[in-house]
Structures are given as C-alpha cells and as structure tokens.
C-alpha cells in the first residue's frame, strides 16, 4: 500500500470539527438522498444473512425468524395504547409501522364486512403495499414468503397480540411485486 494512498485516506477522515458530547444531533447526516447507497448496503447485508440462515437451518429458519419478529413486535407494541377493538389495534399498528410498511384492510367484493367469519374462524384480509422486506428480497433476487417475510409476520402478530391482548395468527395468501395479501386470523 503506497504512502500516498494512506495520506489520502487520513485526509478524507480528518476535519476541524469540534464535537462536544452534550450536543445532540437534530437531523440525519448526511441527507436522505445521500443515504441511498447505505440503504442498498443494508438491504444486501440483510439478504446475505437470510440466505445464509436458510442454507444453515433449512426449513427451521422460518420458525427462528418468526419467533424473533414476534418477540420484537411484543416489545415495541408494549409502549402503545392497549385497544380491545380490532379496528383501533390496526390503527395503532399502522402508526407503529409508518415509513417502513403500509397496509390497508381489504375484502373481496362478495363479502359485506371487513371482519370475515368463515369455517369457524374470524379473520381480516390485509394488503401490504409498501414493504421494506419485499424491497430487500427483490434487491437480492430472493423468493418472497421465506424467512425474512416470517420476521414481518411475527412482528405484526406480536404487535397485534400486545395491543389487543388476544392471540392472533397471520397467513400468507399471496405475494406479488407490488402488494401482498395476508390473512390476520383472530382467536
């Protein structure tokens, strides 16, 4: 390695900035536009972790990531208002996921209400539009519905359980490039 290159590196990481520990940064640095490469780096890293996990743990990877997501969902939702009604809980969940995921309650045209009762189970269809998991999977050429999706599932289930105090289950109905349909089963 040449001395010139080392000097160049040192210069790149040196500034005259005075940094005091009591100064709290009030905005992100650098600007969000310049963070694009960082975002891609994070997506690549996540994809790599998930791919390796699948190789090592096989089908067990889904259970691991689901459990991790669920625990995280419980922990995050602990600080949110407790709601007994499903509508209110979904509203809280929407706030919780803001900026990362966006979803809407959906129903097929032959159903009259959003809360559907069929074959002895009560469920709600959720259509996830914006989803960082989908972005990551597509960035890395990975299939949808695998362990990374299970993390989000666990997260949603954990948060719903924490907010409503009821047991819940989420099922994948369909995954697509622009939106995914999920079924939230309430127990």
């Amino acid at each position: 390695m040449s001395a010139g290159y080392i000097d160049e590196l040192h210069e790149a990481f040196h500034s005259d900035l005075v940094y005091r520990s009591e100064e709290i940064p009030l905005e992100c640095s650098p600007k969000p536009k310049e963070m694009e490469q960082t975002l891609h780096g994070v997506m690549k890293l996540n994809g790599l972790v998930i791919r390796s996990l699948e190789e090592i743990a096989g089908r067990g990877a889904n259970a691991v990531t689901y459990r991790a997501g669920k625990k995280f969902g419980h922990e995050v939702a602990k600080y949110f208002q407790k709601r007994e009604d499903v509508e209110g809980a979904l509203h809280e969940l929407s706030d919780l996921l803001r900026g990362q995921y966006s979803f809407e309650v959906w129903k097929p045209e032959d159903k009259e209400t959003f809360i559907i009762e069929e074959n002895g189970e009560t469920f709600i269809y959720l259509v996830f539009h914006d989803c960082i998991v989908r972005q990551t999977l597509r960035r890395n050429g990975l299939d949808q519905g695998g362990p990374l999706c299970q993390t989000l599932f666990g997260y949603v289930v954990g948060a719903i359980e924490e907010i409503t105090g009821r047991k819940a289950k989420l099922e994948i109905v369909h995954t697509g490039p622009n939106a995914c349909l999920k079924k939230l089963v309430l127990k």
Binding site: L39, E109, V127, G176, P177, N178, A179
Partner: protein, 80 residues
C-alpha cells in the same frame, strides 16, 4: 380498479388466470378477460407473469421501489 387486456397481444396462455388468487381473470375464446376487476388488490403478479405484457391496471397504488440499484440505473441511462 380498471383492468385492460390488450386482446391483440394476449396469447391466451392462461397464466394470469392460474396465478391470480382472487380469480379476477377468465379465459374467454382463448383471450384473458378481467371478469372481477373489483376483486383485484393490486399485487401485479399478473404483470410479472404475462409473457405478452398485455395487461394494464388503472387507479392502482404503486408501492415504493427502493430496490432499483442506482449504479445500474446510471449505467443504463448512459446506454439507453
């Protein structure tokens, strides 16, 4: 939601019929027809699977796309 199928382009393969979980499409006279457009939730799997690119959705919410590689885009802009 409005779904338009280009009848001249559609090859009648039926992939959209098989793939759609909400049974939005049906094959009629070897051409795909959107018979239940209100059942469409906008996943756009049909767009991805259609070999003839014969489909068009109107009034759809396009999800954010963060996965497009900026470096690849820059290279493509130079070429195209």
């Amino acid at each position: 939601m409005e779904i338009h199928v280009d009848k001249d382009a559609c090859v009648g393969c039926g992939l959209c019929v098989k793939d759609c979980p909400m049974h939005v499409y049906e094959l009629q006279d070897n051409v795909s027809v959107a018979v239940r457009p209100n059942n469409c939730m906008g996943c756009l799997s049909c767009h991805e699977i259609c070999p003839a690119q014969a489909l068009e959705h109107r009034g759809i919410y396009a999800a954010r796309r963060h996965y497009i590689d900026i470096n690849v885009c820059e290279m493509l802009r130079k070429v195209v």
